[in-house]
């Protein structure tokens, strides 16, 4: 038999056999439930802004997003958000709460390096690429829409 330790291809085949399969069904269901709950909460908050604070429906989105971001930031600081995310997966990463978590967690992590070189510069270490490519995509889509 050929020595597997001298044959990366054969070794990688062996690894494929030994690595446990990701719990796909469970992950999908949890992402749906957790992500769905976050969105339902968002909708509830939006309805409250419309009903009790007299926001017009097309303007109620702004305070809703701000509120949800605040809750996510608070849960991150309290050390709860990452625990929910371990089960929620994409359900906690995709909504705006996941974005807030990535910024707040980085800001907390690098606070000990000071406000300028730590919090200020490292805060967007995870979110930075979302912002950069989000802006570029928005620009390109805007350009196409203006030309059509």
């Amino acid at each position: 038999m050929k020595d597997v330790l001298k044959d990366p291809k054969a070794y990688q085949e062996l690894v494929k056999d030994k690595v446990p399969k990701p719990r796909l069904a469970k992950n999908l269901v949890m992402a749906f439930l957790v992500g769905g709950s976050i969105c339902t909460l968002g909708q509830l908050i939006q309805n409250i802004y419309i009903k009790f604070f007299n926001f017009p429906p097309d303007k109620a989105g702004d305070p809703t997003v701000a509120t949800v971001i605040f809750i996510s930031g608070l849960l991150t600081a309290l050390g709860v958000y990452d625990k929910i995310a371990r089960h929620g997966g994409a359900g906690t990463a995709v909504p705006v709460t996941g974005f807030a978590n990535s910024v707040v967690s980085a800001a907390l992590e690098f606070k000990r390096e000071g406000f300028v070189l730590g919090v200020g510069s490292k805060m967007f270490i995870l979110a930075g690429s979302v912002i950069a490519f989000g802006v570029v995509t928005a620009f390109v889509v805007g350009l196409i829409s203006a030309l059509l």
């Binding site: 030994k18 446990p20 991150t76 371990r86 089960h87 967690s105 907390l108 992590e109």
Partner: protein, 330 residues
């Protein structure tokens, strides 16, 4: 005199002694199966320090102090201090060395640093270059997470083959004379790369290095796995251990009876939902704590390390790995 046997194995003629040894751990490690063997369990991950990095070196210093105390020695008796850890520029070791005040040799073998430190300490003592050498290593979940992966409060879902970095430290006083377990042989590992790129799959990346070192050790010494009461790898976790078993079986080397992995021993099933523990402290606290308390006659500890960095991974390089083996007699 220290001599070489075969390709990679060192034979210690005087069999240097583990005169004192000590282990400390964080709260999670304290609750695990290895917890009752720790000399000190910190209830909190900050350990009262101003940063997690400061907490990590506090653990290392504390393990060294207790190991010296058990050996009835003081800092002034230490001829050389050898240490390594996972942090950039091995700051836990360097800062601890400042505190200890002894001549210092900083090493880096990632999570294999524990065996590497003991191996080198043995050479210094066996050759007569030193009477007393302290070898130490440490890791901290939060310092490793932020350096290798994400901020600690970032909500990331980890795959089942990922591992949990152990918070803890281990220190051993290796001396020329005295009573205690004895360092008999050591096999220096080679760096191996079989094309694994996933930094979350450390077990698969390091398994070839562990297998290679075990096979070479048996070949160099003419021993069989059964000559040991226990063969233990450092931090391969469940996935890596199964791969080593498979590689050994194909090689005709029977590891089915007495082979375990520290990454699997350090936590219980309910504590973590992935493949096991990892980090420099993983093999250190399990070996010096749990395994040194059992009634073994002879064990082979094969500490494994992944020699990558976040930069090398992001630049698309494979994960090279290493493993060093030390044989200890009781």
């Amino acid at each position: 005199m220290t001599v070489r046997r075969g390709k990679q194995t060192i034979v210690y003629a005087t069999k240097p002694v583990f005169l004192g040894y000590s282990t400390v751990g964080g709260p999670k490690e304290g609750q695990g199966p290895a917890g009752s063997y720790l000399d000190k369990i910190y209830p909190d991950l900050t350990m009262g320090a101003k940063s997690f990095e400061a907490a990590e070196r506090q653990m290392m210093i504390s393990a060294i102090e207790m190991a010296l105390e058990k050996a009835s020695l003081s800092r002034s008796n230490v001829d050389c201090f050898i240490a390594g850890d996972l942090l950039n520029q091995i700051i836990s070791s360097g800062f601890s060395a400042l505190n200890i005040g002894a001549p210092f040799l900083g090493i880096y073998g990632a999570c294999s640093s524990f065996a590497q430190g003991i191996l080198l300490a043995g050479v210094l003592v066996d050759s007569g270059a030193a009477e007393v050498v302290v070898a130490a290593t440490s890791s901290h979940n939060n310092t490793a997470e932020r350096q290798y992966r994400y901020p600690t409060e970032y909500g990331a879902q980890m795959p089942p083959w990922s591992q949990h970095t152990v918070t803890g430290a281990g220190a051993a006083v290796i001396a020329a004379r005295g009573q205690g377990p004895r360092l008999e042989l050591a096999t220096m590992g080679r760096v191996m790369d079989l094309g694994i790129k996933d930094p979350l799959n450390m077990g698969a990346a390091m398994a070839p290095a562990a297998a290679d070192t075990i096979f070479t050790h048996m070949e160099d010494t003419g021993r069989k796995p059964d000559d040991y009461d226990l063969i233990v790898t450092g931090d391969l976790g469940k996935v890596g251990r199964e791969i080593v078993m498979e590689l050994a079986q194909r090689q005709g080397c029977d590891l089915s009876r007495n082979y375990r992995d520290c990454g699997e021993l350090v936590y219980s099933k309910g504590q973590i939902d992935n493949a096991g523990g990892s980090g420099c402290a993983c093999s250190a606290i399990v070996t010096l704590g749990m395994l040194f308390s059992q009634n073994y006659k002879r064990i082979l500890v094969v500490a494994t390390g992944a020699m990558h960095s976040p930069t090398s991974c992001q630049q698309g390089e494979n994960i090279p790995a290493i493993a060093h083996a030390i044989s200890i007699e009781f």
